[in-house]
Symmetry: C2
Subunit: 273 residues, 2 copies
């Protein structure tokens, strides 16, 4: 097994470098990785320091370090590129191609990508987080007019993290509402939700995973029993079908995938940040 150091480097947050770099590295197995995120390399001096660090790790591992980067300043990129490493610069590679394809010069502006950019978009996200917190777990019933989507499901199916992710990442106003035993017994959509059926999206999960999650929370309780979990899941899925609510089984998928499915089903397209 080869040991390599992986660096995600940028003159800004390095988030884009990290996101794509991590994705790419998942395609190469059997490399023991040591990963470092290095944001804000925005002077020649800092770049020279990083150069020394990269060189050292390549030597220590006896394998070239891999650098994924997004630099907007060519001179700084050049310094890092000269390290003893395998160097990828997502920004420059594509910006050059795009200038050609779009017949247009790029702005070469540092930090537009994850800068606050449009101030209103920052505030939109913060507002969406506040909205998600206030409207978590059926906390308020009189704000659904403002909701972009309302997640529904039985207890412990990931409604809260999903709501927060949609809010933080995309500024989507997301409420969530727990479907309880008595709703299920009545096979009845809670009254507060009826006028907003077009905004609903259901989450379900495998009964044994639900059992495990609930067991952690309230060990040995009827709430966490396999029988109870199975019953709730099968009833809630029936309810979703009967009420024509799109839903997703979240058992082995990530928050990103859940969010992408919800955006797709509820046509919450790309907001322009």
């Amino acid at each position: 097994m080869k040991n390599r150091a992986i660096y995600f480097i940028s003159d800004r947050t390095a988030i884009t470098a990290e996101t794509l770099g991590q994705s790419l590295m998942t395609q190469f197995e059997g490399i023991e990785l040591e990963r470092h995120m290095i944001p804000f390399i925005d002077t020649a001096e800092k770049a020279l320091n990083i150069q020394a660090i990269i060189n050292q790790s390549s030597q220590d591992n006896d394998a070239k370090s891999v650098v994924f980067s997004t630099f907007t300043d060519d001179k700084i990129a050049e310094i890092v590129r000269e390290s003893d490493c395998i160097f990828y610069d997502f920004f420059n590679d594509y910006v050059v191609k795009m200038e050609h394809d779009l017949h247009q010069e790029s702005a070469h502006i540092v930090g537009k990508s994850h800068g606050i950019g449009d101030e209103s978009s920052y505030e939109a996200r913060i507002r969406a987080v506040n909205y998600a917190l206030v409207n978590d777990d059926g906390g308020r019933l009189d704000h659904y007019q403002q909701a972009d989507v309302i997640l529904v499901g039985v207890s412990r199916t990931g409604k809260t993290p999903t709501s927060l992710f949609l809010a933080l990442q995309y500024g989507i106003f997301t409420a969530n509402f727990p479907i309880t035993d008595s709703d299920l017994d009545n096979a009845y959509l809670p009254k507060a939700l009826k006028p907003y059926k077009k905004k609903l999206f259901g989450l379900t999960i495998a009964a044994d995973q639900l059992r495990r999650i609930r067991e952690e929370r309230r060990p040995g309780s009827p709430y966490a029993s396999m029988r109870q979990c199975q019953r709730e899941i099968s009833q809630v899925e029936e309810l979703f079908l009967q009420e024509n609510i799109p839903f997703l089984n979240v058992t082995s998928i990530s928050i990103e995938e859940i969010a992408a499915n919800i955006r797709l089903a509820r046509q919450l397209d790309v907001k322009q940040f």
Copy 2:
């Protein structure tokens, strides 16, 4: 001004395509954009549908649509590439380069990037979100042993969204604690925080922005007055300096930038998801 449709397309969530594609588009000004995120294009049939949609939008706009994509299946990528568009495939472009540079074949596995992958990492993020919620706004004082970082600052400086972002995005256990008037009058770090000084990180903000945010919450209150905001901000910055707590003025920076600064200052390096 040219109108172009921009597509972020993938056989999985399209998040990576969106992240890098949006970053790149910020470098090209004066293009009026219409953006679409299209996840889960994982069959030839779906790809052919998309091809038709792209062709139509290129024709309607009288300008080639731009496609940013991350396909793991070459055949599906090929169908989309054949549309009337400017086509970028981040995955294939780099995977091919990397196979060469690393002297290793890629796994070509669909969805490893944003799939649940390592199940424990998914649960780590959910746990971190639960931790952040329970430990929001000084909610608990007896869990700080588990914290990776504790955000401190006066009311309305973005502690909650930042905590949730660190938790959701990176699985970082983040608590936050409000610094109150009486703490400031005493120029004194709250007692509960003293044993954890190495975990603290301060947030501050321009007084007039703080005033505006507080004004929205409690219009006309002394709490939202300019004088009060100025006083709190100057006192809290003094406290941070005196106690040697690293801090950041978040006035015109994004959550991503705030998070990157905190990870850097508190050495919360890349977790392996």
